[in-house]
Amino acid sequence: MFTPRHRRFRPRKFLKLASRLIDDKKYEEPSRIRTGIGRAYYAAHLFTKEKMERLGYSLPDDHTVHQSIIDELMDRGDTTIGSKLDRLLEKRRIADYYMGTPLYMNEGRYCIRLSDEVISGAELLSPKKR
């Protein structure tokens, strides 16, 4: 179903939520770190995905989309953005699936800033490199 752009959920809102949540002492620290990392990743992932789709990239509609976006970034030479997104993806997997691996506040804050970096980089992607 087509949704007009102005009515679509903007991925940046995940990042805003992550940066507020991580400092919100109403919640237990490990939970807000893990959730914050997850939202920070998805903000970067979804923003980049939308941008690449607007540039004409055809991306898969299943779980392989995460790696596909990173691969496309690496292929077109935007390797720093690709590496940063890969770093966030790695942290997100730990945050969501590896409960035995501790995550600290500095890592949470780092991921939030990294997500902002990826979004800033993705904003500048141009179609010409393809």
Binding site: H63, T64, H66, Q67, D71, M74, D75, G77, T79, T80, G82, S83, K84, D86, R87, E90, R93, N106, E107, R109, Y110, C111, R113, E117
Partner: protein, 266 residues
């Protein structure tokens, strides 16, 4: 008796009477420096230097010898180091054992070789102040009493067991990693920059047959913004190395696709 150079100068002067013998002499010296010396230096095979441990042993043994038996082996070592420095001036830093020859050797026996320590006797020889001045470490007394010690960051680059295994089993992969490692050492092996590189292999969760090479970069003294700047620079340096590899375009694409740089949070 006229030397070979005198004969050469006078025969050149015969056909160029306007030049002075001084000018001809200088031109010959310049020609030798420019055309002959670099080739000679590149082909020169320096003798193997003794290990720092055996140097220290010899140094201590000499304290027991009578004056007649004492040989100044430090002079030989110094001469070889000077030669190697000359070679470096001509050919850059890609020669092997560069550290071994050009950094201080004598009196370092208590310190692992990768943690080379420099000694300075005179103030005017000292380089600019390092970020952190470390205390004199607990080493045996050497012939040159150090006034201060600058310690290089240890373990600039480390490899995990998986990548070490792949390097030994895959010559192409070894070539890529060697070139990347060489570039990193050339650009980032600085005493003032606290940086560590760790090479590892990660299996992809989605495609378990796919292996990603991850270069983890740790910059413990840098702010977030500095880390991002270094990240961009290091990544660009590594991609430039990949550009120069002698591989086909699809291979180059695959290398880029599977090699990631990750900067660690502090």
């Amino acid at each position: 008796m006229p030397t070979l150079r005198d004969e050469l100068v006078s025969s050149i002067l015969l056909s160029n009477p306007r030049l002075s013998s001084q000018e001809v002499s200088e031109q010959i010296a310049a020609l030798i420096e420019r055309e002959i010396l670099p080739t000679v230096l590149s082909k020169l095979r320096l003798p193997r230097l003794p290990s720092p441990l055996s140097l220290k042993q010899r140094e201590l043994m000499q304290l027991r010898y009578r004056k007649g038996r004492v040989t100044d082996f430090r002079e030989n070592v110094g001469f070889m180091q000077d030669l190697e420095k000359l070679r470096l001036e001509y050919y850059g830093s890609d020669l092997t054992n560069e550290d071994y020859y050009t950094r201080g050797l004598i009196g370092n026996t208590q310190i692992p070789f990768h943690q080379v320590v420099r000694y300075f006797k005179k103030k005017e020889e000292s380089p600019p102040e390092p970020d952190v001045i470390q205390q004199k470490s607990d080493v045996s007394p050497s012939l040159d009493t150090p006034e201060r010690i600058i310690r290089k960051p240890s373990r600039l680059i480390t490899f995990d067991s998986n990548i070490a295994e792949k390097i030994t089993s895959d010559p192409n992969f070894e070539m890529i990693i060697a070139d990347v490692e060489s570039k990193i050492r050339k650009e980032y092996d600085r005493e003032t920059l606290n940086v560590y590189f760790s090479f590892s292999i990660r299996k992809d969760i989605v495609g378990p047959h796919r292996e990603k090479t991850i270069i983890r970069i740790s910059l413990p003294d840098c702010s977030f913004d500095e880390k991002m700047k270094y990240w961009d620079k290091i990544d660009a340096d590594i991609r430039n190395v990949i550009k120069t590899l002698d591989v086909t375009e699809p291979e180059r694409k695959a290398i880029n696709r599977n090699l990631f740089t990750h900067v660690e949070p502090s």
